[in-house]
Every structure is written in C-alpha cells, then in structure tokens.
C-alpha cells in the first residue's frame, strides 16, 4: 500500500483518507488506531482495572480457565478467553502453544530446543517455549 503523509498547519484539522479494495483486519486496525489512538485492553490487578496498551503486551497465557496478559514487568488478568484474545489482538500476536499467544515484536531471539521446539527469549529477558506444532506458523508469519 502506498502511504502519503502531508504535514499541515496546526490550525487545520487532521484527517486520513484510506482507499482500499476491500476491508481487511489490518485496515480495521489501522482505522481503529487513527480514530481511537493506541488500542488498549482492560486488565485486572489486585482488584483494580487498568487499561493496558496492546502494543505493550508481551504474551497472553491461559491458566486454570483464566487468562492473563503479561507486559514488560506486570501481569494482569483479563476477562477474555485465549481464543477471544486471538480475535481481538492484531496480527503481531501469534499462538505458540495450546495455552499461549505471543507478541512476535517482543521476541529478542529464538533458539532450537529438543524435539524440534523453539525457545524464545523476550525483550524483558523472559523465556517462553514455542511448541513444535506452532513453529511452522511462526515461520509462515515471518514469511519463511
């Protein structure tokens, strides 16, 4: 998609015109971002609710029928099931096991483990495991 950015005077109203052949999830996300700013998801911690930036989520995990999202240093419970989160979160998130989805932009590096699995080291130093069956999806998402 060709993108043109024009800088306008402070007094002029900012606007965006998107010319598309058909509406896709990526376009919807772009529109949502333009209209609403940075997307957030409601997380619960110690009884308090917090708006958590989607771009700050490192990974989401399902444990004992509860779902949790993890940012750089924090963990929040969310009211969504993992499959619902997959639908809400954008294309930067990928399922890496039956109980985990990961933000691929937060992966520092990957390393092969035993049984064709991969371990991923995240930007905050945490290590997570990418199950063998999902390594293929990761490679596909990387365009490999």
């Amino acid at each position: 998609m060709r993108v043109t950015v024009n800088t306008i005077p402070e007094k002029a109203e900012e606007s965006a015109v998107i010319s598309i052949h058909s509406m896709t999830a990526g376009v919807r996300n772009a529109i949502s971002l333009l209209q609403d700013g940075e997307p957030t998801i409601t997380g619960i911690k110690d009884g308090e609710t917090y708006p958590v930036s989607v771009y700050g989520i490192y990974y989401a995990e399902s444990v004992d029928d509860k779902s949790f999202i993890y940012t750089k240093n924090e963990c929040y419970e969310v009211k969504y099931r993992l499959y619902e989160l997959e639908g809400i979160l954008d294309g930067r998130f990928i399922r890496i096991s039956k109980s985990m989805i990961c933000n691929i932009r937060k992966i520092r590096s990957v390393k092969n483990a035993v049984n064709s699995r991969m371990t991923a080291t995240l930007l905050n130093g945490e290590t997570i495991v990418i199950s063998r069956g999902y390594v293929k999806d990761l490679k596909k998402r990387m365009g490999l």
């Binding site: 990957v110 390393k111 035993v114 991969m118 930007l123 063998r132 490999l144």
Partner: protein, 141 residues
C-alpha cells in the same frame, strides 16, 4: 502429516547414507586389496527396508513433546537403531567376519552422526532465518 514427513525424510536420508557408506567402504577395499563385492539383486531393497525400520522408532521416540524425557528417548533411540542396523547387516550379509562387523558398526556410527548433523544443520539454518526476520520487526528494547 508432520510425522509422515519425518518418516519419509528419515527413510530417504538413512537409505541414501547407508548406500553411500557401503559404496565407499567397498570401493576402498577394492582399491586396496582388489577384493570385489558382489551385490545381490535384493540388497538395495534391504537398505531401503532398514531405512524404513529405523524411521519408525525415530517418529515414535523423537516426536513426543515431553522435554523431561527427551534425552532418555534420544539414548533409547540410538540403542534401538543400532540393534536394528547391526541385526539387519548380519541377516542381509552386509559384512563378513568379525572385522567386517566392527567396520559395519563404525559405518553405523558415521551414518547416525551424519543424519543428526544434517538435521541439526537444517534446524540451525531455520533458527538463523527466523532471527534475521525478527530483527526487521522487533520493537525497540
């Protein structure tokens, strides 16, 4: 489909490497001693059969996801493959005499190592490709 792919790849790789190793060994023996190895018509099939038989434990033992038992299964895999190959070598007359058995065992170790090195190289290459792709999209730390 994933397990079938492992089965097929392992069968072809093992059969190919066994053929190469036997061929090189016999060539060396011919060049050094002049001894000629007469290939029975069915012996190429015996190599393929061993390739198939060694693929089955490979799929069964190396596919499961349990990391705790991974090294145990790798050792078990080595022992089972060794038993299959050495027994097949004896039955199919791949070697003659005790010294021939020793040479066959060494050939087995070479082929086994080459298969593992080959698989490791492929996985390492994929790992490097994924890391290079991640470099382009990774958020700033």
């Amino acid at each position: 489909m994933d397990k079938f792919k492992i089965f097929l790849t392992t069968t072809m790789m093992v059969s190919f490497l066994i053929t190469i190793v036997i061929g090189i060994t016999e060539l060396v023996e011919y060049l050094t001693t002049g001894a000629f190895f007469y290939l029975e018509g069915w012996q190429p099939l015996s190599v393929l059969a061993v390739g198939v038989c060694t693929s089955i434990p490979t799929v069964l033992l190396l596919s499961p996801n349990n990391e705790k038992t991974a090294w145990l299964r790798i050792v078990l895999h080595f022992i089972i493959i060794m038993v299959i190959v050495m027994t097949s070598a004896y039955i199919f007359n791949w070697y003659h005499g005790f010294s021939g058995g020793i040479i066959t065992f060494v050939e087995f170790i070479v082929v086994f190592s080459l298969v593992w090195i080959g698989n490791f190289s492929i996985l390492k290459h994929e790992e490097n490709l994924v890391n290079q792709a991640l470099e382009k999209i990774r958020d700033e730390e």
